[in-house]
Symmetry: C2
Subunit: 740 residues, 2 copies
């Protein structure tokens, strides 16, 4: 846990700001200053091009390509990688004065400042460029993605010559020729161009992406074209001291059919608003409304305040349930690491944020799994099983993890879908969903769990040859997490089915009875004396390693230790037993949580960025406030301060979701696994106060925590009962106040 | 075990014979009729070319190429495949009459007969070709590899026109252009040609292979040449009823330096004998001497008699310790499956044959491991360990298995080297070797075992995250085989070191004390009540599968079952506990062997061709003679009758070594792990008798077993004491006879 901040951004409650350009962190900044609106995303790369380190990345949610690895001779091993593919560089603008190109890697400039405003989603970058002949220009680059019209992107370039009048030449275009970095290959063919638009078709999958632009400028527009590029050239007459504005509004529209993509895209392009200011105002209204219901304030810790708003802002940019069939990639739309694939993080780490700010968006995440049920059924078949097995990593619902030891042995995604249904229902009471799509999913998942599980010689049911959440134990039997989650899944499905007419659901009483047997005979390794759950059969016999004795330079272990060496001791990568104690928190006594925390925490090296928050939440519950804060300390700023030194690859989208949980479930002590929502707030000693809002049963509850007291108030909707420190209380608009 | 014979060869005690051509088995025959002399090998493909199914394979021991897989991001995972590369087609001869090419896939022919004689190593093929115009020719193709001059290969083609006189046109050449089948790529560049010779250089490794020929014929020789080919064209005047003979003698010489390869090759070519008859006579003498000391006779079972001689003949062709640094590939020099790599089969299955027929050859196999010690030291380092770790699969001493779950988790090759040293010494008492190379190897191996092993929380030493010989249990802790072999390795090394001056060996008393602790604290999972060794920690708790319930069409399981499914039950692939009970046979009581046989045998599916022989040997010992014979029944004819339907890929070289053991250790009841060699013969009921010879302490003992009695006699050398049915007896030239 020896993580060191790399601070270079200015602190501000509502913005991230880079004062002065940091070329050594150029790609980190590109990730941090990313824009997205769920449908599309663009890294904060320079519009005018940059010959230094840069990943020019524009991505669309669900637009991917595929690649096949070496053919494997074993059944059930997936060798197809689907990856979110880099698309069209729409901010692309080349700027020249006297034939000299603007390039911050080579040009003279001063007064660089870049800011991203969480209240508008506007990215603003400005600096003064001095050409080699001494001409000075103030340049401002503005960029926006519309939160209202998902296909719409806007750009504005403001040019003010400071010591001359003359010509500035710009080429504004749409460039499909950017290579996908990981494979150093471009995956687009451009099959149609005209009327300011270009149509790219991706090589293997055949995604059709329409990109069209309208450029506004006080200058004639001369079309230019290349194989994968269209644009216009402008020679703008600029006057000393006066601002000239060049605007570009862009429509990106993806379809599988090229003719339709062109037609619909063109219609969009022609009908959507082109006025930058209008889009900006719409965005401002959108975000104002959003923050009113979803803000977290922190008094007395400006960095964390900035950090948590950045997290919430990026979560909302990445996903908000606005488009059909979207999921949340590990890096959102901010980079190519993890290939844009979504993991079980979606259900376990991201879902709660949406569940308590936008339940429809939460529901849409579950719908994604429902839509990809056919792929999950096929995957189970690949594994010689029945029912539905959800992929470890996916974009399109198929398994995209080519490491069999993960793809064939980890069932966290599958039980997480069941957990998400349970969690969603427990909070929303959406019985209609539960008894339609919900139960269909649950049945298919139970069917998988029933066919993948096995009976031991001793008559216990469990899972053999699995990898639990702790990926440092590669292939084990009766992993407590897997078994426990399966048990709860069976029990929940049976509970839902109880009283339902099962005749149309295609399952028999016999099948349900089998599940009942399996659930009740499920082997959960547990020592009633020590109250310890054994992470898997045999874990307690493993050689012990003192994780503090591992030299700092050995981390990350996957890069420095022989692969198998990682797997043969009692060191764990991330919570496993503690994970199910977090998910089904109120099913365990404080004594049990305490004993298991004491045993497993010292063995955990937190090599997953998702690990500290779960420990922090449990530490809070156990009253270990300093420990809780220690685990929390970099949660909100994991990317802003680049703690893991890999933010250049994209931001840790699912970790920032965990940061939200860390405050709400950790310090706020919220629990959503009981009959009622409950709270047990605490407050870090050096904060003067903090607040958060949660949407619960159509009301918005604001929780304000100060040193010594907490106030619960409805700010939207009807009064609702919640549990506060174990007591049921009705929270209304007047608010209830309680000592802490 | 439902294996069905595919019989098509004629039965003969000293030959394999194909009467009438079997085009549907053309590649099977190519494997069976392979010639080799350890240095080089040639499949029995047709000299004149064949447009049907054919693998034109000529291989040299130790001549390989390499290929790298996708880059792995994990440390210690080998992604380099070394493979025995197909070299020069030296028998290459094209035959034409009136412009019509001979090709048995297209030509009319009759009287086809092919025979390989174990007493000479001569391959003879004859048939009558009738051209489209009705010309008939009797053709005989003869082929030989010299057992005396390893570089020398001879060919003779005898042509007798039966109904005409005229011209037969032949092109006799050396062809480097044959592609390597697995990668469908040719790996040779020919850098020099001239004087009937051609020099090939392999692409990546840079092996230089000189091939030179001398053609004898009563016709002018017109040189022909292509990029990777040299040859001569002969227009032979043939006379009706008279035999014309075309001879070709070939020298193959491999070196790393091209100039030296040319020079030495040319010298060889010019000085070696060219007379086919002379080479044939030399070979006859060689094999006569060999059979005198190493024959096995079986009376009353002609098929098994042929089978066992085929096994012995192929073993001797493949390896006999004649050249430096040779090892035994899984298919010998008869095919490209397993890429020509050698496995731990060498030490456990092949070594005993040499130990009891040619101890110097046995010693040379251990020398191979000594020569590749640097690679084994490097491999241990890759795995974050000390000492020497021997590769799962290798040609050049480096790890050539690219499946990390085998290469990083299986230590059978490493403990097998120690076992081989122990076994070699136990039989030969070669103290000089033991106290020089032997102890150096043992120290390096112990160092690896000490660093790879770990102490459990309970203070026991053992191996975590390993795969034992039973590859159906992929990643387990405290595999009994691994732990037991390690324990014995430590104990033997300490025993050798005891009393030696260790000062020059680079190890300290402390280190030896550590090994002593590890050996004595080694965890060998054992239940003293049932006398069962547990194959690994937790094996007894695994879900049970009745292996007889698996449908026959599911085999081989690797092709039909999802990869992970194989690993999660108590089914085993090949002996694991029973394997160490075979290797250190006399360290276990009959009761223990019986209990473990009863437990593990019904769980074993024998998916390895090496499995039945070990079971057969133990069944014999336990007096289960019918079972022993059932396991044996196809051992000697696994390839002749193509039981596994994959003989076209090459013969099962290491399995045929096991067939030898099956007779000598099984029915002969020989044991070589005691102070003295011991015997406890039995005889299958339907054999009237059998005999075998073993070289032991410089004497050759002939063991003849009849129904009811066994006779032990020295046929070469001094009298030696052995144990017969537990009694020490002096065997001399007169022989001792005992009832059985």
């Amino acid at each position: 846990m020896a993580k060191v901040a790399d601070k270079y951004l200015s602190v501000d409650p509502w913005k991230i700001i880079e004062d002065g350009f940091h070329p050594d962190r150029s790609e980190v900044s590109e990730s941090l200053f990313s824009l997205a609106n769920e449908y599309q995303g663009a890294r904060g790369f320079f519009d005018e091009g940059y010959s230094g380190q840069s990943l020019v990345g524009v991505y669309l949610n669900g637009i991917y390509e595929e690649r096949f690895g070496e053919e494997m001779s074993y059944k059930g091993i997936s060798n197809r990688l689907a990856f979110m593919v880099n698309t069209v560089n729409w901010p692309c603008t080349r700027v020249k004065v006297d034939g000299e190109a603007l390039d911050l890697a080579k040009s003279n400039f001063s007064g660089f400042r870049r800011a991203l405003d969480f209240r508008t989603g506007e990215l603003r970058r400005e600096f003064i460029w001095e050409t080699s002949s001494g001409k000075k220009l103030q340049l401002v680059f503005l960029r926006l993605l519309s939160m209202e019209t998902k296909e719409l992107a806007c750009q504005q370039i403001r040019i003010t010559p400071l010591n001359f009048s003359g010509k500035v030449s710009l080429t504004a275009g749409l460039d499909f020729s950017v290579p996908h970095r990981m494979f150093n290959q471009n995956f687009w063919e451009c099959v149609r161009k005209g009327d300011g638009a270009i149509l790219g078709v991706s090589h293997n999958i055949g995604h059709c992406l329409f990109a069209g632009m309208q450029v506004s400028a006080e200058a004639p527009q001369v079309p230019v074209e290349a194989e994968k590029f269209i644009g216009v050239r402008l020679d703008v007459d600029v006057v000393e001291g006066q601002e000239s504005v060049v605007g570009k509004s862009v429509t990106l529209h993806a379809e599988r059919n090229p003719a339709q993509a062109w037609e619909k895209g063109m219609l969009q392009l022609q009908t959507s608003t082109k006025r930058y200011e209008k889009v900006l105002n719409c965005n401002r209204a959108y975000w104002e409304n959003f923050w009113a219901n979803s803000d977290i304030t922190i008094d007395g810790d400006a960095e964390t305040q900035q950090g948590i708003r950045f997290c919430i802002f990026q979560m909302q940019q990445t996903y908000r349930g606005a488009i059909n069939g979207a999921n949340i990639g590990a890096k959102g739309l901010t980079g190519e690491a993890y290939n844009g694939n979504a993991f079980w993080d979606t259900e376990t780490y991201c879902l709660p944020f949406y569940l308590f700010s936008n339940p429809n968006a939460a529901r849409a995440l579950i719908d994604y799994r429902y839509k990809t049920l056919p792929q999950a059924l096929a995957r189970a078949k690949d594994l010689d099983c029945e029912g539905a097995c959800y992929p470890i990593a996916t974009i399109d619902g198929t398994e995209s993890c080519t490491l069999w030891q993960h793809a064939s042995l980890q069932f966290q995604p599958t039980t997480a879908v069941a957990y998400a249904i349970w969690h969603y229902f427990n909070v929303t009471r959406d019985k209609i969903f539960l008894q339609s799509e919900g139960i269909e999913l649950l049945i298919k998942i139970c069917r998988f769990l029933a066919s993948r599980g096995q009976w031991s010689a001793k008559g216990k049911f469990g899972y053999y040859a699995v990898m639990g959440p702790d990926e440092f134990q590669m292939m084990v039997n009766n992993n407590a997490y897997t078994n426990y989650m399966a048990k709860r899944t069976f029990e929940f499905a049976l509970q839902v089915l109880d009283g339902m007419d099962i005749s149309h659901l295609g399952c028999s009483r016999d099948e349900l009875n089998q599940w009942r047997c399996m659930a009740s005979a499920m082997f959960i390794p547990y020592d009633s004396e020590t109250k310890l759950y054994e992470q898997h059969e045999g874990f307690f016999n493993l050689p012990h390693i003192d994780v503090d004795s591992i030299p700092v330079e050995d981390f990350p272990l996957y890069h420095h230790w022989s692969y198998d060496r990682i797997y043969r001791n009692d060191m764990i990568k991330q919570p496993d037993v503690l994970m199910f104690m977090f998910l089904y928190n109120q099913s365990f006594s404080l004594e049990e949580k305490s004993a298991n925390y004491d045993y497993y925490e010292p063995r955990c090296i937190h090599e997953s960025s998702l690990s500290p928050s779960v420990h922090s939440i449990l530490a809070s519950e156990l009253g270990r406030h300093q420990e809780a804060f220690d685990f929390f300390h970099f949660a909100t700023r994991i990317d802003l301060d680049n703690y893991n030194r890999n933010t250049h690859e994209g931001i840790h989208t699912t970790s920032i979701a965990a940061a939200w949980m860390n405050i709400v479930y950790g310090f706020g002590g919220m629990r959503s696994d009981g009959e009622l929502l409950s709270f047990q707030p605490s407050i870090p000693v050096h904060w003067s106060g903090y607040s958060f809002q949660v949407t619960y049963r159509r009301s918005v509850i604001r929780v304000e925590v100060l040193q010594g007291r907490a106030i619960f108030r409805i700010i939207n909707g009807e009064a609702v009962p919640v549990k506060i420190y174990g007591q049921i209380m009705e929270v209304n608009r007047e608010g209830v106040s309680t000592a802490i």
